[in-house]
Amino acid sequence: MKNEIQVGFVGNPNCGKTTLFNAYTGANLKVANWPGVTVEKKEGAFKYHDNRFKLVDLPGIYSLTSYTMEERLSREYILTSNVDVIVNVVDASSLERNLYLTLQLIELGKPVIMALNMMDIVEERGMEIDLHRLPEMLGIPVIPVSARKRTGLDILMHTVAHHKDKCIDHILEHHHANIADKFKGHKHEHHKDYPIVYSDEIEDKIDDLSELLINAYHEIYNVRWHAIKLLEMDKEILAKYPLYIHNIVQSSYEGEIINQKYDFIEEVIEEVLVNKSSKVALTDKADRILTHRFFGLPIFLLIMGFVFFFTFTIGDFIKSGLVVFLGAFSEFVLYLLQSVHAGTFITSLIVDGIIAGVGGILTFLPNIFILFLALAYLEDSGYMARVAYIMDNIMGKLGLSGRAFIPMLLGFGCTVPAIMASRSLENMKDRRRTILITPFMSCSARLPIYILFSQMFFGHMAMLVAYSMYLIGIIVAITVAFVMKDRSGKDHGNALLIELPEYKTPNQYTILIYVWEKVKDYLTKAGTTIFAASVIIWFILNFGPSGMVTDMSLSYGAIIGKALSPALAPAGLGMWQIVLALISGIAAKEVVVSSFSVLFQIGNITSPAGMTSLTQVLGQYGFGALNAYALMVFSLLYIPCAATIGVIQREMRSFKWTVITIAFQLGVAMLMATLVYQIGSLFIK
């Protein structure tokens, strides 16, 4: 195991870092959370020649300050872990901005290699990058790659293997081409040692601070970087290396250092970017329509309309095939169990408990697959960031930044990553409000409930009814945000700050991996949470205080359900079976559906025959279309699933807030379902 090389992938958001990372590791990822926090890093491993590579994908960042969590963690990782080489993934089409991070990485002192991505876009624009001059000025190898076309990958890893022990190995050549006057009489001739040399004033202070640092902390690695950070009065470094520096640094030089870095970047761009043609990029043409002040919003709504249309129609079409297969499978297992003379206990557990519960959930896989596919397309194409801008106006009226809409939109897929995405909001107050309303955005786990009940009770209106759930979710979210708006007037205006990346054709491979991860999650959930919940539900329904029961109404489950059912009676949901199904839904929302099939002993619940018999059974209890609608509204709004509660707790970092959030959502669900049922009852019947 001598030859394992640890490679950290660092780059700006949207530079194609993850696509490049996936090109090496495929779907063989291990997603690891940073200890104590929920910023994800991904790890993957592969072999090439005689070396084993361990790749670590760090969060996308613009700089290495200590102002944001992602930046702090990335910096910490580079400084303290035993990473051998940093691969700095750079978007060539936005080289100038990307170089800022590059300079900071080089200053950190670990070996850095630049993977210059998206050269095709540069060429399309009729520009060229001088690949000979760029490494000369930066002192690091520059490897052109295409993450999408998967070219340059071998060369990059080859360079990594050869470069792992060297920091600056290129001969630095700095001519001060056009600005010779500015630096005339520069007494610090460091140009052979460091790519970026600051003004005399700053270099003097770096020298002084370096001396102090070395005297006080002999073991310190990369003194220059630490000295620069002290000069910037970086909180973390000041705390880590307490020194008396007030005679050298009276106020932070951070602004000055940033400016000089950009001055140097301008020099680099001046020399390496050839033929800066100002051809109007396709992106700008597309943006003229997609972010248009009047058309932007209708276009967005239309796109989302299409997404849901495909999710329902095509998803249902494939689902019907799966349902037939599941029916055959269930009968086959039943036949098998009978032929080996299995007892009724085990037969019932397997057929009525597990296959009915888990199998029913698996038939929704096509709908879920299509929904995530669509969301992946929106994200990878670069459109998602535009949505933040388009929605900024409306969100501003709710006292939130347009950026808060991205977690909400992701909430249509799964609430857990959506709540994690709220981390991009800097203000904790905004973050709490966003976390509070994100679960109201109807996630894909609730889809099975809508699909089943709308098809059972609303016939050809089914799709419209399911749509209405999404609308109700959005309206509730907006109302809550509006009611909770900070009206103190201090935080007037909104602080949206987001980069709009170049539009690109989504990469099939990236999308496939993204969707596969979601499908895998869904299958895992079916095999674990839903499986366990189905078994538990089966047990508490088949056992009672008197032992195994044949009449479910004497079971433990019925006792629990009956005790709580009065609370839901005003919402038309006062049946103990429904109460039990809703409680089980806290494990995962799909479990509501699987519980129905276990509760009413309907094998193939999503098949036409299964639905008809469930409708009939429910009808006997007086459960009609209005009750079904109230049930859907309740399922939409009530306590989120266990996984969501967990992530809320981690992100809110407050037990009190987590409890408040849960109680609040339960209250809203009771209120809305009751309103629907009571008002509806006035018109129907």
């Binding site: 901005r97 602004g255 932007g296 900024d392 347009g402 909104n494 602080a495 700050l497 709009l500």
Partner: protein
């Protein structure tokens, strides 16, 4: 003048940014340093602006846009 009253298609030079330290440093890291030229690409009724700075596009909300002082490049 501030970025909020900028016209689409015009090019301006950033003079100063008047925000809290963390927000200011973030903007600077994104390339919005004093003396930088920016081009206004789009804006909406709420005062949010899309601009091009150092080869990349940024969308800024009204609060940030209003805090960026600049002058027109003739």
């Amino acid at each position: 003048m501030t970025l909020k009253s900028a016209k689409i298609g015009n090019i301006y030079t950033v003079k100063s940014i008047d925000l809290d330290m963390a927000a200011m440093r973030r903007l600077e890291a994104l390339g919005l340093t004093g003396g930088t030229n920016i081009k206004i690409l789009n804006r909406n009724n709420g005062g949010s602006v899309i601009l091009m700075v150092r080869g990349s596009r940024l969308a800024l909300g009204s609060k940030i846009a209003d805090a960026i002082q600049m002058k027109e490049v003739s």
